[in-house]
């Protein structure tokens, strides 16, 4: 399925969930209004008009139904609100169970009938809640920005550079050039025709190293690589160099996938410290464009070492650097 078709399908599913959620909202509203406006009728139908406790309980249940209704009818987060209905159903069924145990005859028959109806509603609620939760997960999965879940993460980014594809390809293929625009790379040492040794800085000053090999390449068009051996952060990537429609530029399409240590938690922590991986890749491509088009990574007083995701805000003030700051370099 194309990405667009996937997105369309997820949207259709999401619309379906919204519709079902709204329907449940109207049911909640009807029940709530009935329980609040005519509690005695509700009590009589249910066969619990013999207990003074139910005089207080029925309107309370009605009020709760109105909360479900408000959530389901106004919020788009239908999965959460459908689950609140499931919890409410469980409460109702528990109360009905207690009521049945204490009654016999006509009242008991009425209670069993009402319980049957509540079980039916519970099934509908449960199905809607499960479906809404699933639609939410599917809906967020095919985004290009990398999944929020643990496990391998895939990132894509693109830029257009005003240089012909053979030139951009040649620059990238000379792997020693990569650290000039990939801010986290310390060094790449070429160890063979297709093999290399990479070192990079990671959050909390940790350094990671790994070996990589080029697994597929077409001169002027494409390079694909992956880490080999026991890499701390197993990773793979493909970069394609596509002639742009203007006839002079190159579209650079990058797909990276890697396993961030610590799964989802590691990712959340990394993001908290400004290491959002997609943003890193985005910044890297901006720097690649700067290097190829202008010769260098562009520096400002606010971002004297080029923009780094980690040092986004606050930046240093936009005023000239002192000699000591300049001497300390990027780590100051």
């Amino acid at each position: 399925m194309t990405q667009l078709a996937t997105r369309e399908a997820a949207k259709a599913r999401q619309e379906d969930v919204q519709r079902r959620g709204r329907r449940l909202g109207w049911v909640s509203l009807g029940l709530g209004v009935a329980q609040l406006a005519a509690p005695d009728t509700v009590r009589r139908i249910s066969g619990v008009d013999d207990s003074p406790t139910t005089r207080a309980v029925v309107p309370l249940v009605g009020a709760r139904e109105l909360v479900h209704a408000a959530g389901l009818l106004t919020s788009r987060r239908k999965s959460v609100w459908a689950w609140t209905r499931v919890v409410g159903d469980a409460m109702d069924l528990a109360s009905l169970g207690v009521a049945i145990a204490h009654r016999s005859g006509r009242r008991r028959r009425r209670l069993v009938a009402v319980t049957g109806a509540v079980v039916g509603i519970t099934v509908v609620d449960l199905l809607t809640a499960v479906q809404a939760t699933r639609a939410k997960k599917i809906g967020s999965a095919p985004t290009a920005r990398g999944s929020r879940e643990g496990g391998p993460m895939e990132l894509t980014a693109t830029t257009t550079i005003r240089k012909p594809p053979p030139k951009v390809y040649a620059f990238w293929r000379d792997l020693g050039n990569l650290p000039t625009f990939m801010a986290h790379l310390e060094q790449i040492r070429t160890t063979g025709d297709r093999t290399s040794h990479w070192s990079a800085s990671a959050p909390f000053g940790k350094d990671v190293e790994w070996d990589a090999e080029i697994v597929d390449e077409a001169p002027g068009e494409k390079i694909a690589w992956r880490s080999t051996g026991n890499a701390d952060v197993p990773n793979a990537g493909t970069v394609r160099f596509v002639p742009a429609p203007d006839g002079v530029s190159t579209e650079v399409h990058v797909v990276l996938s890697y396993d961030i240590p610590g799964g989802a938690v590691g990712k959340a922590v990394a993001k908290y410290f400004g290491e959002e991986p997609h943003q890193q890749l985005d910044d890297d491509l901006r720097r690649l464009k700067q290097v190829l088009e202008t010769g260098q990574v562009v520096r400002s007083e606010g971002a004297p070492w080029g923009k780094r995701a980690r040092k986004e805000f606050p930046q240093r003030p936009a005023q000239p650097l002192s000699d000591s700051e300049l001497a300390k370099g990027a780590d100051s």
Binding site: D282, K289, T294, S300, E312, F313, Q315, P317, P320
Partner: protein, 235 residues
């Protein structure tokens, strides 16, 4: 050096800051001889533009003398001793936008273009002294300024025109001119300009230069209308 710096909402301070240094090979350092305050500096002053930081050097309309150039600056384009007016947008001269002469859309000169892109939906070129959204470049309301891509933007002044005669080329005259240029003025056109402030005055002069039959100034301030009249426009 001394520089006018942002110090919080509605507060600016002239402070001592380090002298600028070459950071990129195509930088130049300019000793500033004249600088101006732009109407849009008010948006920074009153806190309307996000990403200003305490200590940011302000100012994007300035001119002066080149006192140092980086090793990447083509001597055929710029040398020490040249007198230059510096345009406020910083342009690399090499990207697609610059190739199309859309210098304010330069794709390389703003290191923080990603932030601008998220906020506005499109990036903007680097601009001197105009918040970190436009790159975090130190501005020109100072004794010296670092000018990136000095072989692209700066306009050499090789005649004996005074600073006051050429300084406005940095921002405000082109702003007024662009407004007039967009009107596709014909020799039979009567052009009315709403607002006779500095940009309006330049728009009126530009409209006349572009051939308008008559230019009318509209404003509520009598002194501005008188100024337009003195310049030969109808108030």
């Amino acid at each position: 050096m001394r520089a006018n710096t942002w110090a919080g909402r509605n507060k600016v301070k002239v402070r001592d800051v380090p002298d600028p240094k070459i950071l990129n090979e195509r930088d130049a350092i300019v000793r500033i001889t004249s600088t101006a305050i732009c109407g849009s500096d008010l948006h920074l002053l009153d806190g309307y533009v996000p990403t200003m930081q305490d200590g940011d050097v302000m100012g994007h309309e300035f001119m002066g003398e080149v006192i140092e150039v980086g090793q990447g600056v083509d001597p055929g384009r710029l040398r020490v001793g040249d007198r230059v007016v510096v345009p406020f947008p910083i342009a690399c001269g090499a990207c697609g936008a610059c190739a199309a002469e859309l210098y304010s859309c330069c794709e390389n000169s703003n290191p923080n273009a990603g932030i601008a892109e998220k906020m506005f939906g499109h990036p903007v070129a680097g601009i001197f002294g105009y918040s970190h959204l436009t790159g975090g470049f130190a501005g020109g309301q100072a004794q010296y300024a670092r000018v990136p891509f000095a072989d692209v933007g700066p306009l050499k002044i090789e005649s004996d025109l005074t600073d006051e005669q050429v300084l406005f080329l940095s921002d405000i005259l082109p702003t007024g001119y662009m407004g007039a240029e967009m009107c596709d003025i014909q020799s039979t056109d009567v052009v009315a300009v709403w607002g006779a402030g500095p940009v309006g005055q330049f728009a009126m002069d530009s409209a006349r230069a572009l051939g308008a039959a008559k230019v009318i100034a509209i404003d509520k301030e009598p002194y501005r209308l008188q100024m337009a009249e003195r310049a030969g426009h109808t108030a």
